[in-house]
Symmetry: C2
Subunit: 361 residues, 2 copies
């Protein structure tokens, strides 16, 4: 039995590619970035007739959203499933700094859900598509005993301006947007037994779980895709699996290590009324922030000379400097991330975020 990273490595290897770079035998004239990042980047290599400037890079990514694995129809309304399906996929475009353009959907569902359920599901996708400025350009449907949704999203960035996981360098600062752990808190409240009342569940955390806010504007700004033409971030990823896992992804792709400071991690506020409930005692805001997935905040690195450009908030979203990138000793193959507490003690931080293949799920 393999974990998700091992599976991806195996498939990549078997298909003759390699992670973190261009697959073997690839025609470099169109593929700019292959497997192993949040998205692939291609360019058809033209120039605009009017200005002579190169045409945009096209950024492509795919994501699946499965009944029983990622959501439960008994817990989640079809509208929220539709919204979140497109939002999570599009979050990969945010992590690349791309402007979303289009998406393709394959949808498998029970014949009994092709009435009202499907109407509401489609309504949820539409809300997300309008919000992100995307057009549905392709799809495929099939009957199936379980709902399976798979979405490919496409967006654009200026040539060579896409943010990757592989650009972090020693000395860069590590930043994160918003607060972490809210989506997991929402899920924990939703699945608590005995049930919490709707009033007990913190609204914001429930929203974070059901309708994640993705950081498109921030990503575009960090990529220099907007009015500011400078690429500010050296690397970026969206936090879908959890901070501990996603920071390892950046370190792995960039061949560096990292150190993050516990007191600087923006944790979610757990209302006292929730904290006092015996069935919620095991919920720890710090654990949620480190290993809880689905916040879809951006984790990014910024070179020292540009770090002063990062404001405390960008368009209302808090930005926190949580650590720094450090060089990896030559003989070490795997990435090491350290968590430093307020007393200056460092402990290794293992990737313990979401992995659907892990045994303990």
């Amino acid at each position: 039995m393999r974990n998700e990273t091992e599976i991806i490595d195996l498939v990549t290897k078997r298909l003759g590619g390699q992670r973190g770079g261009l697959p073997e035998g690839v025609r470099l004239d169109w593929l700019r970035l292959g497997l192993g990042d949040d998205a692939a980047v291609i360019n058809t290599g033209g120039r605009r007739r009017s200005t002579g400037s190169p045409t945009d890079d096209l950024v492509l990514s795919c994501d699946q959203f499965l009944e029983g694995v990622h959501f439960l129809p008994s817990l989640h309304q079809p509208d929220a499933i539709g919204y979140k399906a497109l939002a999570r996929a599009t979050s990969d475009l945010a992590a690349m700094g791309a402007r979303p353009r289009f998406f393709l959907v394959t949808l498998a569902l029970q014949p009994s859900r092709t009435g009202e359920w499907l109407e509401q599901f489609a309504g949820g996708i539409r809300r997300a598509a309008r919000e992100f400025g995307m057009t549905l350009i392709g799809g495929d449907t099939s009957a199936s005993p379980k709902i399976a949704i798979s979405i490919t999203v496409g967006g654009v960035t200026r040539l060579d301006h896409a943010l990757t996981r592989s650009g972090a360098r020693a000395g860069d600062s590590v930043f994160v947007s918003g607060t972490l752990g809210g989506a997991q808190l929402g899920l924990a409240c939703l699945t608590a037994r005995p049930k919490l009342t709707r009033n007990q569940i913190p609204k914001e955390s429930l929203e974070r779980h059901l309708r994640p806010r993705i950081r498109l504007a921030l990503g575009q700004w960090l990529a220099g895709s907007g009015e500011v033409r400078t690429k500010i971030a050296s690397a970026a990823i969206d936090i879908s699996d959890g901070l501990s896992t996603d920071l390892h992804h950046i370190c792995h792709s960039s061949r560096v290590d990292a150190r993050i400071f516990a007191p600087q991690i923006p944790t979610v506020n757990i209302p006292p009324a929730i904290r006092r409930l015996p069935r919620m005692r095991r919920i720890n805001p710090f654990e949620l922030a480190l290993h809880g997935g689905e916040d879809y905040e951006l984790l990014f690195t910024v070179p020292r000379r540009l770090a002063a450009r990062i404001p405390s908030h960008y368009k209302g979203v808090k930005l926190s400097r949580i650590g720094e990138i450090v060089a990896r000793p030559r003989q070490k193959k795997s990435a090491r991330v350290e968590l430093v507490d307020s007393a200056g003690r460092a402990i290794p931080l293992k990737p313990q975020g979401w992995d659907s293949f892990r045994r303990d799920r």
Copy 2:
């Protein structure tokens, strides 16, 4: 309960698009063809620096391949599942006349299949990818109690040279490549009870079912994407659901009717040893050809002035003229396809091909 066409119509409508043309509010500068065809067509609008000619159109399509719906792990080897998953998706590029370039895969599977099964599955995809000249550029994996594969494929055509379903006009001839019904015959033999021996099963039909040959070279030639720069076909589709259903798709998109001639339909040869078996008595080559899916042959229409250019074989693949496109009376909204027998009698041909939502499955 809706059928597949109704579901696609509903989702399209709910998402603010329209079939057979450009969705509402679409930026025409990049989207050339939206929903309702075998694939979407986009163009980033550049010109090549060297020649000044426009850059290629990018053709994108998605397809799903599901355990229990499209294949059974007890019947189908993982290598064949991998090969066919990519082949069926790429057949949509053949139907558009595109040259395949890349693909993205989402894969859900049981943790117990992440060993040998996954290795062989990846091997099957690789064989197909090499054969078609494609590179894997993105993917996502997840644990799941059933296998679900979803693939997005991308290819290129010369600007405005993609073949669509909507270009058929009254007077055009209707052609089909190869023979029809072989894949369904292979499936029928594989699932016959009591079981047939491997020797009894016609090898070619089994191959057609397990490892469909897709018509990339033919599609590119018909689109004028190769050495011949003229677009020869006015419309095209790949026969994935069955001739009766896919011809209706062309007629629907082109707002025309069609007439096909029974004696000219290239049916599969059923070996006498098979025909004599009581459990295979209900198998009728003509029914297989009309309504059997998964042959992945091309069904295409050719304007009268170009019909003489169609050879009896193209690169070893037989091409048969099976009928003609006729004008649709103004007051009629839905397409009518007639089947004409050797005595000249015409009967209406309903779309009776594959639809995973149909009740009788």
